[in-house]
C-alpha cells in the first residue's frame, strides 16, 4: 500500500464493501422472519438445584458443581466482562442469622467469575442499614478483600434516574453499577417477608434502586415485577444454605433460621423463585408477584417449562 489511495478508488471500494456486506446480511436473513425480529433469541430455561447432604460438605464445592451442571460459569461470563454480583446484604447481621447472602457462596461465585475470565467483579447492593456496617457484619467486606472484587459503596452519585417503563414504576433512581455491567448475577438469600410473603430473587431488585423505596410497599407485587423486568440478570442463584423462616426479612435470632443446604440456579427468574418457595411450603400461585411475573412474561412458574437438574453433594 505504497500508493496513496485516490478519492475515486476509496468511494468505489467503500461501495463494494457495503454492497457485499448488505448481500451477506440479506443472505443470512431468515426467510420467515419472526414477528419480533429484534428480540433476543429465547434461551432455553434451566433450573439446577444443588443439595449439600454430606455432613461438613463444602459450600464452595456445591456452588461450583451447580454452575458446572449449567455448563460452567463460562456459559454466562465471557473473557473481559465486567461482572456485577448483586447479593442481599441489606441488613447488618452476622451470616448465621440468614438475613444476608451467605459469604461462602458469594466468595465462590466471585472466584468462578474471575476464573471464567471476568475483568472485574463488583459487589453492589444498595443496603438498608448503614452500608459500612453491612459490609462488615455480613462478611461481604471480607470476601471483597479476599477475592479482589470491588465493593461498591452505595451513594448519591451512583443513583441515576432511569426510565423503567414498568406498569407501576416509570422513572426511578437506579443504582448505576448494575446498569454499567456486562453481566449481572443475582445472588439473593431466601427469607420470609411480612408483606409479600417471601423475599427471593425478584424481590432482591429492591436493593438495586434508590429513591423512596419505602413507598414501593404500597403496590409491592407490581413494583417487584417492574424491577425484575428492568434488571433481568444473566442468571439467578438463590442462596438457601440457611433460610429465614420467621421474623423476616430482618430476623435477628438463630431461632428464625433453618438449614436447607440448598442452592437454586436458574436463568428463569420466576422459576427460581417458584422453586425456592417450595422450601417454605408456600405455593407459588399464592404469591402475588410470582403470579404477576408469569402473567407478564418474565418466566414460568411451571417447573416443566425448564430443564431441571439436581446436584447432590
Amino acid at each position: 500500500m505504497d500508493d496513496p489511495i485516490t478519492r475515486r478508488e476509496a468511494i468505489k471500494k467503500g461501495l463494494c464493501l457495503s454492497g457485499s456486506l448488505a448481500l451477506a446480511c440479506a443472505a443470512g436473513w431468515p426467510v420467515h422472519a419472526p414477528s419480533e425480529a429484534w428480540a433476543l433469541k429465547k434461551e432455553e430455561g434451566f433450573l439446577i438445584e444443588g443439595v449439600g447432604q454430606a455432613p461438613g460438605y463444602s459450600v464452595q464445592e456445591l456452588t461450583e458443581k451447580v454452575f458446572d451442571a449449567a455448563g460452567g460459569m463460562k456459559r454466562f461470563v465471557s473473557k473481559g466482562d465486567v461482572v456485577v454480583v448483586k447479593p442481599n446484604i441489606s441488613w447488618a447481621r452476622a451470616p448465621n442469622l440468614a438475613a444476608s447472602t451467605n459469604p461462602e457462596v458469594l466468595e465462590a461465585v466471585i472466584h468462578l467469575a474471575f476464573n471464567a475470565g471476568a475483568k472485574k467483579v463488583r459487589i453492589a447492593d444498595n443496603t438498608i442499614h448503614n452500608a459500612e456496617r453491612c459490609f462488615a457484619l455480613t462478611g461481604a467486606g471480607m470476601v471483597a478483600k479476599k477475592t479482589g472484587a470491588d465493593l461498591i459503596h452505595p451513594r448519591s452519585s451512583l443513583m441515576r434516574d432511569m426510565k423503567m417503563q414498568g406498569h407501576r414504576l416509570d422513572i426511578w433512581p437506579v443504582f448505576v453499577p448494575l446498569i454499567e455491567a456486562d453481566k449481572v448475577i443475582n445472588l439473593p438469600v431466601a427469607k420470609v417477608h411480612g408483606l409479600c410473603e417471601l423475599t427471593l430473587g425478584m424481590k432482591n431488585w429492591i436493593g438495586g434502586v434508590g429513591g423512596r423505596r419505602n413507598a414501593l410497599h404500597q403496590d409491592i407485587h407490581q413494583s417487584i415485577v417492574d424491577l425484575a423486568r428492568f434488571f433481568r440478570p444473566t442468571v439467578t442463584l438463590i442462596d438457601a444454605i440457611r433460610i429465614m423462616v420467621k421474623n423476616g426479612p430482618s430476623g435477628g435470632s438463630e431461632a428464625d433460621v433453618a438449614a436447607m443446604n440448598r442452592l437454586i440456579l436458574s436463568n428463569d427468574a420466576v422459576a427460581a423463585d417458584a422453586r425456592a418457595a417450595g422450601l417454605f411450603h408456600v405455593a407459588p400461585a399464592s404469591v402475588g408477584y410470582m403470579v404477576l411475573a408469569e402473567k407478564q412474561g418474565l418466566g414460568s412458574l411451571d417447573m416443566s417449562a425448564v430443564t431441571l437438574k439436581e446436584v447432590i453433594l
Binding site: A92, A94, P95, N96, P103, I128, H129, N130, A131, E132, R133, F135, A136, L137, T138, G139, A140, G141, M142, K145, L151, H153, R155, S156, S157, L158, R160, H193, G194, L195, R212, N214, A215, H217, Q218, I220, K246, N247, P249, S250, G251, G252, S253, A255, D256
Partner: protein, 542 residues
C-alpha cells in the same frame, strides 16, 4: 539549647499535635479494618471499635479529668495522662498551651498567617490587661458548677470545643461541598469526568463521611468557632489569653515553674521586639515582672531579643514566680456563678421533669442527672455514629443540657447491635456496652408509638408495613394484625395493621426513620421506657 532551635522544636511539636488531633478526629468513625476482618463479622463475639485512641486528647486534658471527678465522682479512663500534664506544668509552666493544644496552635497560625495588627498597635495589644482575668473567673465558675452538680466545662474546654467545632460544623461543611461537587461531576455524561467524580468521592468519603452528614445546630457551632477565630484580630491568641479555662488552670499551676524567663534590664535597649512577638501578653519586657501564669512558652521573646537581655533558664531550686493575677473579684464572681449555674439550669424545669418527648439519649447513657455531671458535649459520639442519628441538643435537654447528645430519628436511627458511641465517650457519660448486652439486656433508649391517623394502613390509605419489616428485634416489637377495611368507594380491602409491643421495643427508631409518611412520621420514638431511668417507665412489669 539555642533560641532558634527552641522555636523550631515548638513549631514541630505544635504541628505534630495538631496533625495527631486531626488524624484522631478523622479516625473517630466506623473503622475500615472492620469489614476486612471475618472473625468480627461472622461471630458477633467481638464488638467493632475505632482502631485509634480517639479519646487521647480528652485524657490529656486535666479539666475534663477534674470536672468528671468533682462532678460525677468518676475516675475517667486514662486520667493519668491528665495528671502527668498537670505535674509537668508544675515544672515547665504552660507548655501545653504553647506546645500541645491544637486549638492554641490554630489561633497561633491564624495570627501569624494573617496578622491584623502591626507595630505600635501590636505592642499595645500585647500588653497585659485586666480582661485576662476573665479566664480565671470562667475556671472557677466551671469547677464550682461541676462540684455543685452541673458540668458545663465542655462548652469552653478547648479540646471539646475544637472537636465539636471541627466534627460537627467545619468537616460537614467542607465535606458536603466536596461531595456535592463530586456528585455534579459524576452525573456528567462524559466518561472521564464521570470517573473523575467517582474517584474524587472515593478519596473524600473516608475523611468527610459517606453521604451528607449534617448536625442540628451545626450552623451555631460553626458561627461561634468563626467568632473565636476572628477574635485573633483584636489581640493575638485572644482566646488563650482571655477565655480559655484550661489555660487558666495551667496558669495557676505554673507559679512554681522551673522554666523561667530571666531579664537583664541593663542590656535592654527597649526595642520592644519581645512585646511584638509575645503570644500570651506575659510581660516579657523590662521593668515589670514576667507573668509565668500568662506565658504560653512560645519562646518568641527569647528568640527575638537582639541584645540577649532575655533568656529562658531551667532552675532546679524552686523559685516562686509571680502569682497568677486572678483578682479577688474574678474569683468571687466565679464562685457565685459556679454555685448559681446549676440552679439556673433547672429554671426551665427540665431536670425535674421526667423527660422531654424529644430527648433520646444514646444507648448506654447513664441516668440524666449523672449524665449532665459527666457529658463534655464534645461531639465524639456524634462524629462516630455511622447513621448520623446523634445530634447536639438545642433545647431538648433543657438549658443545662445544651449541646448534649440527643437522637433525632428523622436524621438517622440507632443500629441494633452498634455500640460505637459508648466506646469513644471520654468520661463514661455513655457507658461502653457490648452488642450482646445491648440486645440481651436489652438496653432501651425509648419506645415507639403509632400515630394511627397518619399510618397508611390504619388510615385506610393502603398497605405498607415498612415499620414491621425494619423492626430489628426478634421476635419483632412491631407485629401485624389482619383487618378488613372499607374504602371510600365501598370496596372491602384486607390490610395488615401494625401494633407495637412495648415489652419488646428498644426504641432504636429505624421504624420512624424509614416510615414513608414524611415530615412527621406515623410511628415515632419517645424516651418513655428508657432503661436508664427508673422514673421514665411505662409498664409495671418490664
Amino acid at each position: 539549647m539555642k533560641p532558634k532551635q527552641l522555636i523550631w522544636l515548638r513549631r514541630i511539636s505544635q504541628g505534630f499535635f495538631l496533625a495527631l488531633f486531626l488524624l484522631l478526629l478523622i479516625q473517630t468513625r466506623f473503622p475500615d479494618a472492620a469489614y476486612q476482618e471475618y472473625s468480627l463479622a461472622v461471630t458477633g463475639e467481638q464488638d467493632i471499635r475505632v482502631g485509634y485512641p480517639a479519646t487521647f486528647f480528652f485524657q490529656l486534658d486535666p479539666l475534663i479529668w477534674l470536672t468528671s471527678l468533682l462532678s460525677g465522682h468518676v475516675w475517667i479512663q486514662g486520667f493519668f495522662w491528665a495528671v502527668a500534664a498537670l505535674l509537668l506544668t508544675l515544672f515547665l509552666g504552660r507548655f501545653f498551651c504553647g506546645f500541645v493544644c491544637p486549638l492554641g496552635t490554630i489561633h497561633h497560625m491564624v495570627g501569624v498567617v494573617r496578622p491584623a495588627l502591626k507595630g505600635k498597635a501590636l505592642i499595645k495589644a500585647n500588653q497585659k490587661r485586666g480582661s485576662q482575668k476573665i479566664k480565671y473567673f470562667l475556671l472557677v465558675a466551671v469547677l464550682v458548677s461541676a462540684l455543685v452538680g452541673l458540668n458545663i466545662v465542655g462548652i469552653l474546654d478547648p479540646i471539646s470545643l475544637l472537636f465539636r467545632s471541627l466534627a460537627l460544623a467545619v468537616f460537614p461543611a467542607v465535606g458536603n461541598g466536596i461531595k456535592a461537587a463530586c456528585d455534579v461531576i459524576a452525573a456528567s455524561d462524559i466518561k472521564p469526568f464521570n470517573l473523575l467524580g467517582y474517584a474524587a468521592e472515593e478519596i473524600a468519603s473516608p475523611i468527610f463521611g459517606y453521604g451528607y452528614p449534617a448536625f442540628q445546630t451545626g450552623w451555631l457551632i460553626g458561627a461561634l468557632f468563626l467568632v473565636i477565630l476572628f477574635l485573633n484580630r483584636i489581640r493575638p491568641r485572644f482566646w488563650c489569653r482571655t477565655l480559655c479555662p484550661l489555660g487558666a488552670l495551667f496558669g495557676v499551676l505554673s507559679r512554681f515553674s522551673m522554666v523561667r524567663l530571666e531579664k537583664k534590664p541593663e542590656a535592654c535597649t527597649d526595642c520592644q521586639k519581645c512585646a511584638l512577638a509575645c503570644q500570651g501578653a506575659a510581660s516579657p519586657g523590662p521593668g515589670v515582672d514576667w507573668d509565668s501564669s500568662e506565658c504560653l512558652l512560645c519562646f518568641n521573646c527569647f528568640a527575638r531579643c537582639p541584645e540577649d537581655a532575655l533568656t529562658f533558664r531551667f532552675r532546679w531550686f524552686p523559685a516562686q514566680n509571680r502569682g497568677p493575677d486572678m483578682g479577688r473579684r474574678a474569683v468571687l464572681a466565679g464562685l457565685l456563678a459556679g454555685v448559681s449555674i446549676p440552679f439556673l439550669g433547672r429554671l426551665d424545669g427540665q431536670i425535674h421533669k421526667v423527660s422531654d418527648p424529644r430527648l433520646i439519649r444514646p444507648p448506654g447513657a447513664v441516668e440524666e442527672r449523672d449524665f449532665l455531671r459527666l457529658c463534655q458535649r464534645c461531639g465524639l459520639c456524634m462524629k462516630v455514629c455511622p447513621t448520623n442519628v446523634i445530634n447536639p441538643a438545642l433545647a431538648e435537654a433543657g438549658m443545662a443540657g445544651f449541646w448534649t447528645p440527643t437522637l433525632t430519628m428523622t436524621l438517622g436511627y440507632c443500629e441494633y447491635t452498634c455500640t460505637l458511641c459508648g466506646s469513644v465517650c471520654p468520661t463514661g457519660a455513655i457507658a461502653e456496652i457490648s452488642g450482646k448486652e445491648k440486645v440481651g439486656r436489652p438496653i432501651r433508649i425509648g419506645s415507639a408509638y403509632l400515630d394511627r391517623g397518619r399510618c397508611l394502613p390504619w388510615s385506610g390509605n393502603g398497605p405498607c408495613i415498612v415499620c414491621e419489616e425494619h423492626c430489628p428485634t426478634s421476635p419483632k416489637a412491631i407485629y401485624l394484625r389482619l383487618d378488613v377495611q372499607t374504602r371510600q368507594d365501598g370496596a372491602k380491602v384486607t390490610v395488615q395493621l401494625p401494633y407495637v409491643d412495648l415489652k419488646r421495643c428498644v426504641g432504636c427508631g429505624i421504624c420512624e426513620n424509614k416510615c414513608p409518611v414524611k415530615g412527621r412520621p406515623a410511628i415515632r420514638v419517645m424516651a418513655a421506657g428508657e432503661t436508664r431511668s427508673v422514673r421514665n417507665q411505662i409498664l409495671l412489669d418490664i
